[in-house]
Each structure stands twice: as C-alpha cells, then as structure tokens.
C-alpha cells in the first residue's frame, strides 16, 4: 500500500518535472526564435547577400527607408511579409527565407531578370503589410478629393488591385536605375 503511494508521488513529481523542464526549454526556444525572427527582419540581415544591394540602396533613398523628416524606417519584412496572422507571417517568412538561401547558394544569380520580377511585385509585397502602418489611410483620404477618388474602389472592395500595382516604386526610390547596374 505505502509502496504504491510512494510510486504515485514519484510519478507526480516526474510529470511536474517534465512540465517545468518543458516550459523552460519552450521559453528558451521561443526566445531564440523571437530573437531569430527579429534579427532576420531588417536591411542589415537582408543585405548580407550582395544580390540585395540595389534594393537596399534604393530603399535608403526612399521615404520608407528613412529618407523622411522624422527618419522613420519601415523594415524589409514590414512590406515583404503578410501581416494578417502570425502563422501566415511565420510560414511566409520560412518559405521565402529558404527559397532565398537556396537560390543564393545554388542558383545562377547573374541570370535573374530583376526588371521582370518587378512586374510581379504584388506577389511579394503584401497589402496587409501596407495597411498595418497606414491604418488611417481610409479616413485620411476621404477629405481629399484627389486621394479619395484614387482609393475609393480599393476600400469599397470593388477592385482586386493591390497597393503596389498603383504605387509602383514605393519603398525603393527609382529601383529601376539601381538594378540596371
């Protein structure tokens, strides 16, 4: 009887121990992931590869890259990752990250036609990213006829145009001149 009781207590401690240890490992791990996610989000990380130099340089000349009165800067991922849900954000981050590493290591970097890629900017610039900073765009434009007319169809959801389909150079000041080499 007492033997059984001792066994029970032992296994209870074991379970508690597993939970505590798991919690600690989990915390450490998620801390690591959070730091990792954070460290791989800005221009410093993204420009580690030479390939991204033209994008970075044109970005520094742009309002989104700090060339504005307050020096505020949007990070690369603010535009280039979706902001609708954390899961989607992380998934897309992992997907693009792996793709970039693969192409950077094994791909033929010379053959990439960046001008051609720009035509499909809507695939890698996310409206949810734009809207997570420009939260007041809808209200702000309704009092300005010119800006309102241009955004009316968008906010009324009567067009499937994405932000970058109209705002072509946004984020990168005359990018075309930089990628020409």
């Amino acid at each position: 009887m007492s033997c059984n009781k001792e066994k029970k207590i032992k296994s209870l401690w074991l379970i508690i121990g597993i939970f505590v240890l798991g919690g600690i490992i989990g915390l450490l791990f998620s801390f690591g992931v959070a730091v990792g996610v954070h460290k791989t989000s800005d221009d410093k990380f993204c420009t580690m590869c030479h390939t991204m130099k033209p994008m970075a340089n044109s970005y520094y000349r742009d309002a989104h890259g700090g060339n504005n009165v307050n020096g505020v800067r949007a990070k690369c991922v603010d535009c280039h990752l979706p902001h609708d849900s954390l899961a989607n954000y992380l998934f897309e981050k992992a997907k693009t990250g792996l793709h970039d590493v693969r192409v950077q290591t094994f791909g033929d970097l010379e053959s990439i036609d960046w001008e051609e890629k720009r035509k499909h900017a809507k695939r890698f610039v996310f409206d949810t990213g734009c809207m997570s900073c420009h939260t007041n765009l809808q209200n702000a434009t309704s009092s300005n006829t010119k800006a309102f007319i241009a955004h009316k169809e968008y906010f009324e959801k009567r067009t499937d145009k994405k932000c970058v389909e109209c705002h072509k150079n946004v984020g990168h000041h005359i990018l075309g001149d930089y990628i020409k080499k």
């Binding site: 010119k146 007319i149 067009t159």
Partner: protein, 449 residues
C-alpha cells in the same frame, strides 16, 4: 457718313467676334489654385500658353473639376521606360513626364473600367494584328509593296489608327512615327499597359457625353466590312437619334443614364450602359451572343478576352475570338434583352432576335458551303499561290469579310438595307460566282487564266 459708321460698326463687331471665338484665347492667362500641387499648377499655367487646346479641354473636364492635373497623368517615375524630360520647365529637376499615358495610369483611379475593357474584344485590337502573319503580310508586303522605306505607311495611316499599335520608342524616348500617333483602341504602351481610353473619350476632355454618342464608335465602325454606323443610321434607333438626338441628355452619372434622358439607344446604351437592373460595363463583348466578324459565326462561349493576360506573360496572341459573357452566350443574350425591354415589349424583343438569329444561321450555311469549296480547291492544289490574285479566294474573302458581316450585323442591329441588299443578296451572288470557278477548276484540273 452713314456708310463710314456702318463700316466701323461692322469691323468692331468682327473684331470682338474674332477675339472671343472658341475658348482657346481665353485660357492663355489662366491662373489656377484649386488644390493642385505646385508642379501641377505650373504645368497648367505654362501649357495654357504653349498648348492652349490641351488646357482648354482639361478645364472643361471632370478631371479639372476634381483637381487631377497634367502631372497626375503624365508624370512618371524616372525608371519608367517612357520617362523623359523633353519639357523645358522640368529639365534638370527630379520630375519626369511622358507624352504617352498608358491605361496603367488610368487604372489608378478607374480600376474597374480598365479591367472590364481588358476583358473585352477591344483589348486584343493591336496585339492580334502582330500575331496574325496574314494581316502583317497584307499590310507590309502586299499593300506596302515590301518597299524598304514606305512599307509601314499602310498600317500606320490605316490599320493602327483604329486597332492601335505596339508603340516603340526611339533613342530620345519619343515614340516612333511608324507606331504613333494613333487613337487606336488596343495600343500597347512601352510600360506594358494595354488599351486606349481616349479612343472613345478623346484626349484631355474625357467626356462621358462624347463617348455616349454614336460618333465615338463611328470613326472605326464604318465602311464595307463592318458598317455599324451606317447600320445604326439605317435602323429606327438611328432615325430617332438623327432627328432629335441633339436635344437629349448625355451627362447623367454612370448607371443612371436611363430612357427619358434619351428616346432611342446609341451604341453605348446597348453595349455598355447601365440600364434598369443592368450594370454599366466597359466590356463591349459582354452582351453579345454571336461572334459575327469571323468567317463562320459561333456563339460566344469563350468567357473573357485573354490577350492582355497573355501579353503580360510575354506572349503576343490572336486573342480569344469567342470572348463574351463569362456565363456564356445565353447569359449575354439575356443581358441584351434586358436593354431592349426597357423600351420594347418582350414579344417584340424575342421576335426580333428570333429572326435575326435565323439570318446569322442562314449566313452560316452559305459560309460553310463556300469554305468547303475553298478547302477542296486548296487541297487539290487548285488555288493560286498568291491568294490576293486568286479569283476564288477574293470572292470567298468578300463573302465573309464584307458582305457576310453586313448581312449578320445588319440583321442583329435592325438595318434592313444591310441585312438584305448589302448582305444576303450579295452573298448569294458571291456563292454562284464561286461555284462556277470551283466547277471549272475541278473539271479541268487547273487554274483558269
């Protein structure tokens, strides 16, 4: 004395008339401050002196009302393929402009209009010319005599003026003479934009009234192969328009232009306008049951036009000849009937289309027989190598491309003279002639001299 006074009065009157004729002279001192940007203002004020015609149109436009100015449409980023600083006022600044304005600019404010347009047959107008070898050889080799210097004139002065062109830029970033100017509806711009809003709305004024009048369509839809304006004039609709159309109201808001504003439809009413429950569309193919321009008419089951999408993916294609309503030809006809019943009874409408459809089907029987003869002659090597000097080919071409289109379009738009005398009457004459040639060649086994 009296004579002298009269003369003075007359000259004074003439002078003051001359001083006020048109608005063009008035805009030369234009000063505007209507929420335009500094650049926008300076464009307007300077161009009022240099190109008063442009500014005059703009100041009468809706764009002028809402503060959309020159730079909003003509301004481009430096890395845009059309970007230039050909204007003295901006040389050396960081402002770049383009004389060409592509639909990619228009769609910033009018995304649906551009999208609908690009889903319509109009969108393939220029692209398909480049995709069809036969068309290119007709323009450059046969009509242009393959002349090293002159061969592009037939397309530049003719075809492209309606169809549009794939616009090319010279080294100075100005469009080449071979590809521009034109008002062609399917223009392809160096930035990849396809379409041309000013084909119907005309440059700088972009008038909704203008586009709603038959004249907007008539500059292209006329002549032996698709006499649509003549067909309209021959119809009762055109008759009413021609007698009282000048008094109608053309500037109601989109979707709100209804019977009452007009007493008979114009081209726009049937093919585009919102009427009753029907929504406005810039897809002119959407209410069409038949394709009536091809050699043999089929119903339009091809969904949307795909030329623009193909072009974006780097392909020059013939487009989708059976583009129409995404829900098929029956849905297209239902939409068109919705237009008709705004003024007519259902019986009237159904009966009209019943017989018009039969006329299209009757045409198809002629075309099928004619095609069979041509195919057989081709197979047996009894057709001239240069088809444009082959009598049989010429008859076949006129049968479908001229007479046959008139027969079908005349029927579907209520024009008796075109459905009959310019249409089926000539088609039945054609097929007799073709048959004589066909039998002669089959019998003798050679092409007659």
């Amino acid at each position: 004395m009296l004579k002298r006074m009269l003369f003075i009065f007359l000259s004074f009157g003439l002078l003051s008339f001359a001083a006020n004729v048109g608005d063009i002279t008035n805009v030369k001192t234009l000063k505007v401050d209507r929420g335009l940007t500094e650049t926008g203002k300076s464009c307007v004020e300077c161009h009022a002196k240099i190109t008063p015609g442009h500014i005059n149109d703009w100041k009468e436009s809706r764009h002028g009302h809402v503060g959309v100015s020159c730079i909003d449409c003509h301004g481009v980023k430096k890395d845009n393929p059309m970007a230039a600083q050909n204007c003295e006022g901006i040389k050396g600044t960081d402002i770049f402009v383009s004389s060409l304005v592509s639909p990619k600019t228009c769609e910033r404010c009018h995304p649906n209009e551009v999208k609908e347009f690009q889903q319509s047959g109009h969108a393939r107008a220029a692209i398909q010319i480049q995709a069809k070898e036969g068309m290119k050889s007709l323009m450059e080799y046969f009509e242009g005599r393959n002349h090293p210097d002159l061969k592009h004139s037939p397309e530049a002065t003719g075809c492209m003026q309606c169809h549009g062109s794939i616009i090319k830029l010279g080294k100075d970033k100005r469009p080449t003479a071979e590809t521009w100017p034109n008002y062609g509806i399917g223009n392809v711009y160096p930035d990849g934009g396809v379409g041309n809003c000013k084909s119907c709305h005309s440059g700088h004024k972009f008038s909704i009234e203008e586009a709603r009048k038959p004249a907007a369509c008539a500059s292209c839809h006329l002549g032996p192969d698709h006499p649509d304006i003549e067909i309209y004039n021959n119809s009762m609709h055109g008759h009413i328009f021609n007698s009282e159309g000048s008094k109608w109201k053309y500037d109601s808001a989109p979707d709100a232009w209804e019977p009452g504003d007009y007493r008979a439809p114009t081209c726009a009413t049937c093919h585009m306008s919102g009427i009753g429950n029907l929504k406005t569309t810039h897809n002119v193919s959407k209410r069409l049951k038949w394709n009536v321009w091809m050699p043999i008419s089929k119903t339009r089951e091809g969904g949307y036009e795909t030329a623009v999408k193909d072009f974006e993916n780097g392909k020059i294609t013939k487009g989708n000849a059976l583009a129409g309503n995404p829900d098929g030809s029956a849905a297209a006809r239902t939409e068109m009937e919705q237009v008709c019943v705004s003024c007519h009874t259902t019986t009237h409408t159904k009966n009209f289309f019943n017989m018009a459809d039969k006329h299209v089907e009757l045409y198809n029987t002629y075309a099928t027989d004619a095609k069979k003869m041509i195919d057989e002659l081709t197979k047996k090597g009894l057709m001239h190598k240069d088809k444009w000097s082959d009598k049989a080919f010429k008859i076949w071409y006129h049968l479908w491309h001229h007479e046959g289109r008139r027969m079908r379009q005349g029927a579907l738009m209520g024009a008796p003279d075109y459905a009959h005398w310019h249409g089926v009457f000539e088609v039945q004459q054609d097929i007799r002639e073709l048959k004589i040639i066909y039998e002669k060649r089959i019998k003798s086994g050679k092409i007659e001299e």
